[in-house]
Symmetry: C2
Subunit: 326 residues, 2 copies
């Protein structure tokens, strides 16, 4: 017998797709992971998402058609009402608009609800994770890029739909080139993508590092969070320097955001944030301190409580909200 | 006969005290101005405030005791409930806590309500000025310092009480010294106080400028907004350079705030903002553009609509709210 109210959640990331099945108390009953396809376009990605969800459902001993909806946290410009995703820069050939919800609905046989990946993870941390004690918080998703989510008075703040771009706050005018094309953004120093690009340039200039050797040993084309963590552990000089630079930028930019919003708490998540864990959260907090205007009353700085599953758990919440709203 | 519902508003600034009497539709019936005393401590300032309010009431043909309350917008740490102001750095010998509301109540014979100067001006622009068409906005008060106010969903956002410190968002890590003691804050480049300090240092190093001569001609010890405006008009080289530097910092910092909050509009006010007017607002908007993440959909950038009276009008709103709440 299938328990009532099972829902699915899919976190669509630049390198992996995480799918889960949860019950009404958000307990994970099944889980599966697929690498994000590097080609095949949006259709290929949607097929991999459907596969991951199907495997998660099998693990939970339920067919996807019996799920009370599936939520998806996606990068790019997400239109939840239209069920589309556009301009997902970190996904293959996803410049245009793709009807992701319709495609998944057909493959899975249940309703599909889309949300922005960082917003979805923010809500998960607020409702279920490290953000539970607070009514206002800033979520910083430190991964390939640096994303942000804002909770004020217990509600997600979206502005005109594009709020939370903390990674594109400027920490140094005319500073380093950012993957977004601008200069001096926090992400230009702290995003894993920008850090990898910088590491490659430094190697081209003759710098020595084990970063790319470590990636190769792990069969990775990219410098994943675990590659960075191992290089740091082995005191690789270039890795240490680049991480330090990233932490400086994060401390400065997050402190600026706190000076503006005076939230109760800052939650550090994302691939790098979760991988580096508590010691790095302490370093970020220390870097923030000299830039805080109300330095006698800093916000709480917490590590994301849901680990790698925050995105998928938040996605599953989307399906719950939709069911409640219906 | 005295019309019903007359209220007073006092804007306590670093250089001047502006007092008004308004009717229930916020029409100004009387107005008076006093220079902020450079000595005499909080008591001296309170006495000057009472004088200004008394003169404004005389102009409106009403005694202060007949006013339905007086609101005050004050710098420093304002405790509206306790009626106290502490740590007002730009006011004389005002490091400690002073019972401003009680002192004024005794002098004026009516209830006195305190609010933070920038928050009060923000609410005035939102309700009565350039912010009326919007439900979310960022107010930037460009004067001796650079203050900020935030309206989200039609409500002032105060965070834990200290939100809106846009002047202390970092635009350049390890950058210029800020009057707050930190480095690289927007105010370190754009605050009138920091600009004057920089101008003095440049003169000490041999730079030529008419800034201090212009101040002297006007009988000013300080480089007021009008001194800067005249120097700019006469193409004084140092003044032009320092204003350019300020506009760069404002464009960068305000764009960062917009990337985080995605508000509908930005209102530029404060002594310098109001004095420089529309052309400078356009320059700030142009400086913001390259840093905006959603550059295809910039917020509206507007000049404050209430001019120099925004602070006093907002202060008068405080008395109205108190009356409604009572």
């Amino acid at each position: 017998m299938v328990p009532d109210g099972l829902r699915g959640g899919i976190d669509l990331g630049g390198t992996k797709i995480e799918a889960i099945v949860v019950d009404s108390s958000q307990t994970v009953l099944g889980q599966a992971r697929e690498p994000t396809p590097a080609d095949g376009g949006p259709e290929g990605v949607a097929a991999a998402m459907a596969r991951a969800m199907t495997h998660a459902a099998e693990a939970a001993k339920v067919s996807t058609g019996r799920l009370h909806g599936v939520g998806v946290g996606s990068p790019g410009d997400v239109d939840g009402t239209a069920g589309t995703v556009a301009h997902a820069r970190n996904l293959p050939d996803w410049e245009g608009t793709f009807e992701l919800a319709a495609s998944l609905r057909e493959a899975l046989g249940t309703d599909v609800h889309l949300g922005n990946d960082v917003q979805v993870a923010t809500r998960a941390e607020f409702e279920l994770g490290a953000g539970r004690p607070y009514q206002s918080l800033l979520m910083v998703s430190w991964g390939t890029g640096v994303g942000g989510g804002i909770i004020l008075d217990g509600q997600v703040w979206l502005g005109r739909g594009g709020a939370g771009e903390i990674g594109h706050m400027v920490v140094r005018r005319n500073g380093a080139q950012c993957p977004c094309g601008r200069r001096g953004c926090m992400e230009a120093y702290a995003g894993r993508g920008a850090m990898e690009a910088r590491a490659r340039r430094e190697v081209d200039r003759g710098a020595r590092t084990d970063l790319f050797k470590l990636a190769k040993q792990r069969g990775r084309k990219r410098l994943t969070s675990s590659v960075w963590a191992h290089a740091l552990h082995h005191e690789d000089r270039l890795a240490t320097e680049l991480i330090e630079r990233a932490v400086h930028a994060l401390g400065t930019g997050i402190a600026s955001a706190v000076n503006l919003l005076d939230v109760e708490a800052v939650i550090i998540g994302g691939g790098l944030g979760v991988r580096f864990g508590e010691p790095m959260v302490k370093r970020i907090a220390a870097e923030m301190q000299p830039h805080l205007f109300n330095d006698g009353r800093p916000p709480e700085i917490r590590l994301a409580g849901l680990g790698d599953l925050g995105g998928a758990l938040g996605a599953a919440l989307l399906a719950r909200s939709a069911a409640v709203g219906a």
